[in-house]
Symmetry: C2
DNA sequence: CGGCATCCGAATGGATACTG
DNA sequence: CAGTATCCATTCGGATGCCG
């Protein structure tokens, strides 16, 4: 069966679908629940935020890979966590697992279209992280100084 | 006093700075470390991925808010976690905390410019989550059926 | 109002050993 | 090669109670 295929062309992209960027201070906002705060988003963010998932996704963005190839590439990940992470991604329909029953066995992992579609947003976040890590680090050390300095 | 009020205008945005989107299967990639896999990115993603941080950021995106106002708006967050989350965000330079020593005391939280700059990428991720939550949910139930069905 | 301190269960994640 | 199983330390996060 086919996974609902979103826009395969994701070049220039603007964020404006429904998460508007407002204006003044609070008080005129709808008290119900903003779309960015619903459980679905939280669930996705926890996937994105776990220690290894997005590193795996970004690696697989470069092409399909075998298990130990991923293991070597990702640096620091344990066998256990790579397995668990891949299972999670597979369960969520982001990664496709292909077993070739040979000796020794061969298992290839690749992004599904859904997984591919996640790369863009995550890459943006990665770019933000790279661009602002110094600012964050400085803010931290300043904060820590104010605390126990 | 005034809370540092950042650039309200941050329009169209494309992700392409250095995290390129490649092509074929692996083998011709630089084995060093891709920019999306470095510790800085992991650290940011863990911030983004924790249970409440981004909900707070998105809420504060609508304007500065007081503590219990945030507490009521975010639904489900405990006092302890709101405090901890806000401290973390403040430490990272994403949130600004302003105390007005009145009785009863008044504390306002607002996004710093750095925090504002994070809203775009996170909103994109939120949009992805909203757009694809059904696909993920379906993939999950299918996966779970294959396991114990 | 806006916290902090304490307790405790649950989840995360690393290390190691074993397996088809 | 690609896992599974077990153990264990750390962290996360909710509940409760007290404070200025």
């Amino acid at each position: 069966m086919e996974i609902t295929r979103p826009h395969p062309q994701e070049g220039t992209q603007s964020y404006a679908s429904h998460t508007r960027v407002p204006h003044g201070d609070a008080g005129d906002i709808v008290p119900g629940h903003s779309p960015a705060a619903c459980p679905a988003v939280t669930e996705v963010l926890s996937r994105v935020g776990d220690k290894w998932s997005m590193q795996v996704v970004m690696q697989l963005g470069y092409g399909s890979m075998r298990f130990n190839q991923l293991r070597r590439e990702i640096d620091g990940i344990s066998q256990r966590m790579l397995t668990r992470t891949l299972r999670g991604l597979e369960r969520d329909g982001l990664v496709d697992r292909t077993v070739t029953p040979s000796v020794p066995p061969r298992v290839d992992y690749a992004l599904t279209p859904l997984g591919q579609s996640l790369r863009g947003p995550v890459a943006l976040l990665g770019d933000w992280a790279v661009a602002n890590r110094e600012a964050v680090a400085q803010a931290r050390s300043e904060y820590d100084l104010r605390e126990d300095g």
